[in-house]
């Protein structure tokens, strides 16, 4: 590099360092301490804040679902049912309401939630009655005799296969 006159020694740096720094510091203005003012400290903390926000958006969906489930469980226990019984029997009655709506109904529409709980209980009792049947003792199925099984297999081998 050969600079023959003084003006050529003056380098022209990037013109907008101030605005790039301010763009980063605006994300840090609500922090506590020197990291809301000093660029070097703010850079690290703002990066961590963005990473936490990214991960939390995924976790939010999981934690909302557990919240809804615990609310539905509490509401169904008020009506004498447990959460798995309520959900399973609603699914069997082909009612496809999701957990968010069920928790909202439990909070804002108690009569509707009671109706759903009675529907689930009725379906549960119907299922129990179907399982109990007549009330007679079940008979044991016939145990297959190994000799008859062998004979059947031999007959099958002798018979020609029809297609």
């Amino acid at each position: 590099m050969v600079f023959l006159t003084l003006p050529c020694w003056i380098r022209s740096r990037g013109p907008d360092r101030y605005w790039k720094v301010q763009e980063l510091l605006k994300n840090a203005r609500h922090f506590r301490g020197r990291k809301n003012r000093c660029y070097k400290l703010a850079v690290r903390t703002v990066c961590r804040a963005f990473v936490y926000a990214t991960k939390a958006r995924k976790v939010k969906r999981r934690s909302m679902r557990t919240l809804w489930i615990s609310r539905i469980a509490a509401a169904s226990r008020e009506h004498g049912l447990k959460y798995p019984a309520l959900i399973h029997n609603l699914v069997k009655s082909s009612v496809q309401l999701n957990r968010r709506i069920l928790s909202d109904l439990a909070i804002t529409e108690p009569r509707t939630f009671q109706a759903l709980a009675t529907l689930a209980r009725a379906r549960q009792q119907e299922g129990l009655r179907a399982a109990l049947g007549d009330g007679t003792e079940p008979t044991a199925p016939e145990q297959p005799n190994p000799r008859t099984l062998l004979q059947l297999q031999q007959n099958q081998d002798l018979q020609p296969e029809m297609y």
């Binding site: 990066c47 990473v51 926000a53 990214t54 309401l97 709506i101 909202d104 529409e109």
Partner: protein, 192 residues
């Protein structure tokens, strides 16, 4: 004397006795054990709960009475504000009149278009609810909405960082959004 013995016994032994109280000491008078009494053990009754007795005809009568009542309510218009659970944009929304809904994606309708939401899962008022299995039919309910606004969300930052490996990626995500206003929910009497 007997009272003192009893008190001593209850203080010393806190065991739960299956034999009822009146059989602990015998008397000449008539407080005998009834013959139908079975002591409660783990095998004295079946492990499933006792179900109430079911009468099919009575149950069907009750169902018909309920349906008639609800039909009468709807015909006379004796309901106030109705709410509906609607399946729209792969999500379920609990919706009433004059409600605003923010949907996080693009809809193929222009601003000001009127939309009918057909997948209604549940309709309810103060005194009755219509639960669909899984949907309530189009003849019974009509939910109308208007598209008000089509915007973009605030710029969300998607940042990935791995420490000690000089790996850092930053991406700005902007989602399209639509705002709908629910105009009306109408129910027509057609229950069977």
């Amino acid at each position: 004397m007997m009272a003192a013995r009893l008190v001593l016994r209850t203080l010393q032994q806190q065991t739960r006795c299956a034999v009822p109280f009146f059989a602990q000491f015998q008397r000449a008078k008539s407080t005998a054990i009834p013959s139908s009494y079975i002591p409660q053990t783990s095998l004295s009754r079946p492990p499933w709960p006792e179900l109430p007795v079911l009468d099919r005809e009575e149950e069907q009568k009750q169902h018909r009475a309920v349906v008639q009542k609800v039909n009468a309510l709807i015909e006379n218009g004796e309901y106030g504000r109705l709410f509906a659970v609607v399946h729209f944009a792969s999500r379920q929304w609990k919706v009433t009149n004059e409600d605003l809904i923010l949907i996080e994606n693009h809809i193929e309708a222009q601003c000001g278009d009127r939309i009918i939401m057909e997948k209604v899962l549940l309709v309810g008022g103060e005194d009755f609810t219509l639960i669909g299995k899984p949907l309530v039919s189009c003849d019974l309910v009509r939910v109308e909405a208007t598209v008000i606004e089509k915007t973009e969300s605030w710029p969300m930052v998607h940042m990935r960082f791995r420490k000690r490996h000089r790996f850092q990626r930053k991406r700005i995500i902007v989602q399209p959004q639509t705002v709908l206003r629910i105009n009306s929910i109408e129910v027509s009497p057609g229950l069977i």
